[in-house]
Symmetry: D2
Subunit: 442 residues, 4 copies
C-alpha cells in the first residue's frame, strides 16, 4: 500500500498529525479485547486520572471522546468565491497535483471535541464571544454559527493574537451578563499565534463576569504551558494526534465543575457527544458508554507514560527550545514569521512568510516530492503566502535540524536566494548551548 514510498524516513513536520514514538506504536499493535471485562475499566481509570495532569487540573472532569482532528467545511465566509474557482478545476486533479488544491480547501467547521464543549454547556441563541485570528478559530466560529449560537466575533489580522482589549470592552459593557461564553484558541495552528489565557481570566475576574471560558488547546496542550485550574478554564480540549503524539482518534475534553453544572441546563440537542452518558458510566466504574478503541487506550497509556517519564515541564521546555531554534533559522534565512509580535510566538508551529513571487504550496509539494519532508500549507487568507513548520510532539533536535536543512534546499529549489546552512547554523548555535543531556543517559 505504500505506493508513494521513498527511501528512508518520512520527515513529518506538519503541525499534526505528528510523529508517534515507537513505544506507542508498539503498545497499540494488538488485538481487540472485550471492553466489558474488568481489564479495560481498570486501565481507563488510570487514564482519566492521568490526563488531568496534562491539563494541570485536579478538579476537572475529563472525557475521552472518539473523534477526529479539525473538521474543515466550506461554508465559511472567506472561501466562497474561491470555491467557484475550485469547481472549474475539479477534474484535473492527479496524484502529485492535489497539494495545489489543499491550500484553498478549508472553510468553516469544527471538531467533535469542539461540538462536545459547546453543546454540553450552551443553548441555541446563547451569545458567545469568539476570536477570529486564523483558519482554525474561523472553523470553530463557523461551527458555533451552525449550532445556532449568537456569535460575537472579534476579528484580528491574521498573524496577530486575539484582541483582548476588545474583549475587555465587551465584558465591561455586559452588565446584564448576556455573554454566556468566551471561546478562544490557545494556539492558532494556521498562523502560529499563542494567545494569553491568563489575561482572559483577569478580564473576566476584573468584572466578576460569569461567562464560561472555553479553550481550544488542540495545538497547545502537552506542548505549551497550560494551567486549567489556575486560569479558571471551564472547558479545555485537545486531540490525540497533536502534542500527545498518538494517532487521530481521541478528543480529550476536560470540564470544570462550573461547566458540568451548565451541562445540566444546556438545551443544545446532543446524543453522541452528551456528557451525561459518560458521567453515569463513570459512577458505575465501567467508564464506557460505548465500545472504545482498545488500541488507543493502550496507546494513550504509553503516551502518558512517556510524557511523565520525560517530565511535563521538560517537555514544554523542549518545545520552547525547538521553536526558538526554528525562529532563529527563519530569521537567518531573511524570512518573516507570520506571527507579528514576539508575545504571540508559538512554540508548536511556525508559519513562515515567503516572498510574493513564490507560491508556498510549491514549497510544500516539492519538499514532499524530493526530500520526503512533510510541511504545512498556508490556509485560506494566507494560502500561498506562508508555509508552516510543525515542531510539536515527540521530536528532538537533530530531527528538527534535518527538517531545517530540507527547508533550505527547498527554498533554493523554488528560487529563493537562501544561503544553505545559514538557518541550520543559527538553530544549531542555540541548541548546542541549551540542549540538556538526556537524563536517563547521564
Amino acid at each position: 500500500m505504500d505506493y508513494v514510498n521513498g527511501p528512508g524516513r518520512n520527515h513529518l513536520f506538519v503541525p499534526g498529525p505528528v510523529n508517534i514514538p515507537d513505544q506507542v506504536i508498539r503498545a497499540m499493535s494488538r488485538n481487540n479485547e472485550d471492553y466489558r471485562s474488568p481489564a479495560i475499566p481498570a486501565l481507563t481509570k488510570t487514564l482519566l486520572e492521568d490526563v488531568k495532569k496534562i491539563f494541570k487540573t485536579t478538579s476537572g472532569t475529563p472525557f475521552l471522546i472518539p473523534t477526529t482532528g479539525y473538521l474543515l467545511s466550506l461554508s465559511c465566509i472567506y472561501t466562497c468565491s474561491m470555491l467557484q474557482h475550485i469547481h472549474m478545476h475539479l477534474f484535473h486533479c492527479e496524484i502529485g497535483a492535489s497539494y495545489s488544491k489543499a491550500h484553498i480547501e478549508n472553510g468553516s467547521a469544527g471538531t467533535g471535541a469542539w461540538e462536545s464543549a459547546l453543546t454540553n454547556t450552551l443553548s441555541p441563541g446563547d451569545r458567545i464571544v469568539s476570536f477570529l485570528i486564523g483558519q482554525f478559530s474561523l472553523l470553530w466560529i463557523d461551527q458555533q454559527q451552525r449550532l445556532n449560537f449568537n456569535v460575537d466575533v472579534v476579528e484580528s489580522e491574521w498573524g496577530r493574537g486575539a484582541d483582548l482589549d476588545a474583549l475587555a470592552a465587551k465584558i465591561a459593557e455586559d452588565k446584564a451578563h448576556t455573554i454566556k461564553a468566551i471561546c478562544i484558541v490557545h494556539n492558532e495552528t494556521a498562523t502560529g499565534v499563542t494567545n494569553n489565557l491568563a489575561t482572559v481570566r483577569k478580564i473576566l475576574d476584573r468584572y466578576q463576569h460569569p461567562a464560561l471560558f472555553l479553550v481550544d488547546g488542540v495545538s497547545s496542550i502537552c506542548a505549551l504551558d497550560f494551567r486549567m485550574d489556575e486560569w479558571g478554564v471551564d472547558v479545555a480540549l485537545t486531540g490525540s494526534q497533536k502534542a500527545l503524539s498518538l494517532p487521530t482518534g481521541i478528543g480529550i475534553v476536560c470540564a470544570s465543575g462550573k461547566a458540568l453544572e451548565a451541562s445540566k441546563t444546556a438545551k443544545s440537542v446532543r446524543v453522541f457527544f452528551d456528557w451525561k452518558d459518560y458521567l453515569k458510566f463513570y459512577k458505575m466504574g465501567t467508564y464506557w458508554p460505548y465500545t472504545p478503541s482498545i488500541q488507543l487506550l493502550y496507546g494513550l497509556r504509553a503516551a502518558l507514560d512517556l510524557l511523565f517519564e520525560e517530565g511535563l515541564d521538560n517537555v514544554i521546555a523542549r518545545h520552547n527550545r525547538l521553536a526558538t531554534a526554528t525562529r532563529l533559522a527563519v530569521e537567518a534565512w531573511g524570512l518573516k514569521n507570520c506571527t507579528q509580535k514576539e508575545e504571540w510566538y508559538s512554540d508548536t508551529v511556525t508559519a513562515v512568510v515567503i516572498p510574493a513571487y513564490i507560491d508556498s504550496a510549491e514549497i510544500v509539494r516539492r519538499a514532499w516530492k524530493r526530500y520526503n519532508l512533510s510541511l504545512g500549507l498556508g490556509l485560506n487568507k494566507v494560502a500561498g503566502k506562508v508555509f508552516r513548520i510543525g515542531h510539536l510532539g515527540n521530536l528532538n533536535e537533530l530531527q528538527l535540524l534535518g527538517c531545517l536543512s530540507g527547508v533550505e534546499m527547498v527554498l533554493k529549489d523554488v528560487g529563493y536566494p537562501v544561503k544553505l546552512g545559514s538557518g541550520v547554523a543559527a538553530a544549531a548555535a542555540y541548541l548546542q548551548n541549551t540542549t540538556p543531556l538526556i537524563p536517563s543517559r547521564i
Copy 2:
C-alpha cells in the same frame, strides 16, 4: 499494561469488538502521515470505491465516519428502576467484580453512525417507525427520541423479529405519507435476531410509500447477506469493530441517492456528522474534511483485501456454517436459543437461554477468569438470563470449537449438567461435513 494477563490467547467471542487478523494489525502498526499529501486521497479513493461492495451497492455514497460502537446511555425506559439498584452498590466495585454490573448498565442510546443517518435525512418532529426487539434497537429508539423525532415504536417480545405485519398495517393506513422513515436493525445483537429486510422493501413498494428505509447493519454487514441496492435501503451503516474485524473507530454509513436528496432539506442541527462537508471534499478529490486516522485507513484497506481475497460470498457462507454449528451445540446441550424461530436465527451471534437457577453473568465472569474466554453478557431484559456467543468476523472452525469446549466446561462449573463434548461433537459433525478446503492451499 497487561496486568490481567493469562497464558495463551484470549478467546474473544463477544459479538464485537471481534478478533483482528494479524495482517490488519500489521498494516496499522505505523507512524502518522500528512493526510494532505496525495497519498492519503489516493488511498481513500480505493476505500470509498471498495466499501460500496460490502453494502452491495453501486449507486450509494459511503461516508467513513470517525466514531465508535454503540453508545449506551441510561435514560431509557427499561432500566430506570435498575439504576436505583446500581447506585446503591456503586462503591463496592473491584476488579473481577465489574462483570456483575455490566449486565444492567445498558440503556437507551445510539452511535455516531446512527446519529449521522438520522440527522442528515430527517427533521425534528418527523414521524418514524422504529422496531423495538432488543437492547440495541432500544438504544437506537432512545437516540431517535432524544433527537426529537416522533417515534412510532413497534415492539416485539425479545427473541422475536420485527413485527412486519404491524408495519404493513401502518403503511397501508398512512395515505398521507406522514411516516418519513422506517428504522430497523438488520441484526439485533442482544438477542441474535435477524430481520427480513426484503419484506420491508416489499411492504413499502406494495403501497408505493416514499418513507426512507434506514438500516442498522452493525452486526450484519460483511457477515450476513446484505443487498442495499436490491432492497432499496436508503441509509445503511456498520462499524469497523464488527464483521470487518478492525479496531473500533470507523462508522461506515452508506446513503442512497434518495437519502442524499433528503439531506439537502433535513433540518436537524448537525456539524460533526454533516454529510455536506464530506461531499464537498469528495468533489475536490481530497476526501477528508478533517484529520482521519491514518492507521485505520490502512487497516481498512487490509481488511477489505482479506474480505475480497476470501470472497464476500464465501465469508457469508462461513458465517452461516459457524452459526449453524453453534446452534447445533446449543441444542446438544439441551439449552434454548433466545431467538424464537428459525427464520430469525442470526449467523453472527447466538444468545443462549440458561435455566433460571443460574445467573448468566456468572458464566461470563467464570469463562474469563478461568479459561481466558470472553463471552457476551445478557443485556437489560435478558440480563442474567442469556449469555451470548459472538461468531462473527475473521474466525475459523477450530477457534469456534475451542470456544464451545470452553462453554461446556463453564456450564459444568456453574452447575448445569452438561455432557462434556456433546456440543462440540454436534458442531464438529456438521463442520466436518461442510467445511471446504482453504482455496489457497488446494
Copy 3:
C-alpha cells in the same frame, strides 16, 4: 505475502516453532540499535542473570548463541535408501504436495547449540556415550560423528527412553575413564519420550565417573522440570523457538564450572561457537563479541517476564495439565501413544500412532489444508506411522481443545472411525477439574 492465507488464526501445534505471545511480538517490533551503547549491555546483563533461572542453576554460565533449531542433514544411517526414492520424485513437487516429502527428509545432524556444547568441551577422538531413541537424538549423533568424536551409540526402540541400564554397565566397566561425555536428549521430540536425567546423574555418581553430562533440553527447558545444578548437568541447551515461545534465532547454552574448565583444553576447532570470545566480553561488561539481534534480546526479556509472572512452576504444571489432557484424548480415540511407557510420557509433545491403513502425512496435510491446523509429521522410522501434537509454549486449555477437535475431524476425514467429541470430552473432563483460575483475575 500471505498467499496461502485462510480465515481466522492458524492453529500452530507443531512441536516448534511455537506460538509467540503478543507481548513478545510487540516487544520485538522495533528498529535496530547500536549494540555498543550502554543500553544493550545493561539489558543483556539482566538476560544472562535471568536465563539461569530457567535452567535452575546458580553456578552455570549461560551463552546466548545466534543460531537455529535443529539442523537436519541427510547423511544419516537410516535415510540413505529413502533418498534414492526422493530424487526420483524431485521434480514433481508443488505447493500443497510438499508435506508428503517432509516426512522423509530428515537425517543426521545437530544445531549450533549442540555444536557449541560439543566443540567447546571435547576433542576429536574423545569417546562419548550417546543414546539413539528417535530422530533428534539420531541427528545429534550424526553431528557427533561428523565432528570426529568416537561415539558409543546406545540404541533403543523408537518410543522407548534411553537405555540407562546399558549406560550403567558401560560406566561400571569404564575404570579407565575413557568415556569423556554422556550425551542425552531430555525430551525426544520425534517420539514424545522424556528421559530420566536424575538417574543418569545417579549412575555417574555411583561410580564416581568424571564424564561430562551434556543435555539437549531443546523441547524440555521452560516446560518440563529441569534442574541443572541438582542433576549435575555440565552443559544444557535450549532454543528460543521452543518453550520460550520466541522466534527462532537464539540457542541458549548453559555451562557448568566443570564444562568451562574442560573448554580450556578441548581441542575441537571452533571460532564462531567458541565460548572464549564470549567470556572475555563478559568480563569487560560489554557482553557481545558480535552484533546480536536487538529484536531478539528485547523479545527474550519479554518472554522471561511472562514466564516469571506466571511462575516457572505454574508453567511446568500447565504443560503437564495440557499433556495429560492430550493423552486422555488419544486414549479416547482408541489410538496409541508412540511412547511405550508412562514413565517416558512427554509433557511437550505427543506422538500418536495411527493404523497402518492411514498415512500420517495425509493427516498433517489435510489438517493444514482444511482446518488451518499445523500438526507435526512422523519422522524417519516413524514417518507415515505417527503424527505429532506439540503442546508446549504459551498455550492454554481452549487452544488445545480446538486443536483436539480439529484432529478428530481430520481423523474422520482420512477414514479413521473416531467418535467426534470423544477425545475433546475426555480432555475437557480432566481440564475442567484441574485448571486453576488465572491468578491475575481472581
Copy 4:
C-alpha cells in the same frame, strides 16, 4: 525496557546494524509458522532467486545462514597488550561509561558467514592470501588462523586499500599454485576503505591462477557496486543488518560453481555451516535443513521488495550521493578522512580523523548522551583517533543532514573549533544539486 529513552527518534549512524524501514518491521511482526508447510518453501524459493540479484550473479548458489554480524574476539595480534590494560579497569564500568571501553574491545575473529565461506572451500593447512587493512580484515585473518589455514598476510597502513601490487607479485611467483584462495574485504568498515575487486580478478586472470576469490561484502553488497559474475568472485557474503536494512540474523553467502566444486573436497570440519546439508534440501524443494526464523524470511522478502522497487542501481547511486555529501562536510569542518586516497573512498562508511587533543570515544559518547545520535567508534589501531559515520541502508538526505548537524554540535561540545553549519552547508549544496525526485511521487 527502554530505560535509556530520550525524546524523539534515535539517529542511528553506526555502520551497522542500520535503520530498518517500517515496511520491514511490519512484515516481521508476526507469529511463528510451521516451516514444513508448503508456504515457507514457496516463500524461500523467491528469496533464493532474488538474493542472487543483489550479488549480480545468475550462476551463483546462495545460502541464507542463521548467524550474526562480525564476531569479535580478542586473540589478535594488536590488542593483547591493550587487554592487560582493560582487565585492570574491568570493574569500574557503569552505564554511560561503557563506550569508553568499546573502542579497545575488538580483536581478531570472524562471522558465521566467514566461517561458512572458508570451511566449505578450504582444508586445514591451505595457503591463502589475506589483506590486513583494518579491524574487520584483521578479524577475518584471526579466524583464518584459528581455523588452521596458512595465512599469507598482506598488510597495509590503516586508511589505505589492499596492496594489490603485492598480490600481483605473489601470484606471479606462485607457479605451483600453492595459493588456494584470496580473501579480501570489499569494504573495510573500520577505516572506510573500498578495495578494487575488478583488479584482483585481472591479476588472477593475467596469470591464469586458479585460486578461489573469497570476498567479504558485508558493508558493501546492496550499497556499493558489486558484480559477482563479472568479477569472477567465488564466494561473496553479506549480513542482513547492513545495507539490506534488516535485523541481525541472516548471513547471506553466495557460492560460484567453482566454490561448490571445491566444497566437495574441502576437508575442514564443519556441520552447522556445511553447504552439503542445504544443497540436499534445495534439491528436495523444502530448502531448510533446520528451523529458520520465519520472521526474518518475511522481513527479507519485504527488504528485497523495497530494494527492487527503488532499483538496485538507484540504491547504489543514493549511497554514493550521501557518502559524497558526508565527505564534503568532513572537508568543510577541516577534518581528514581516514581513507588516504579518493580511489578507496567508501560510500557506506566514513571514518573521520580528529585532532590528537580529542578522544573520539568522547564524541561518540556525547552524541548519544546529548543528541540521541549513534556514531561508530574508532577501533583498535585507530581507537580514539577516528569516529565513524555509517551512511548505509535505508536512509535519505534529511536524515543524513540531521546527523551532520549533530556531529557539528558534538565537535563543538568537545572543543573542536568547528563553524556550525559549515558541513551541513557543503553537504546540502551537493545534495540540492543531485537529489532526484522520488519516482513514485512525480
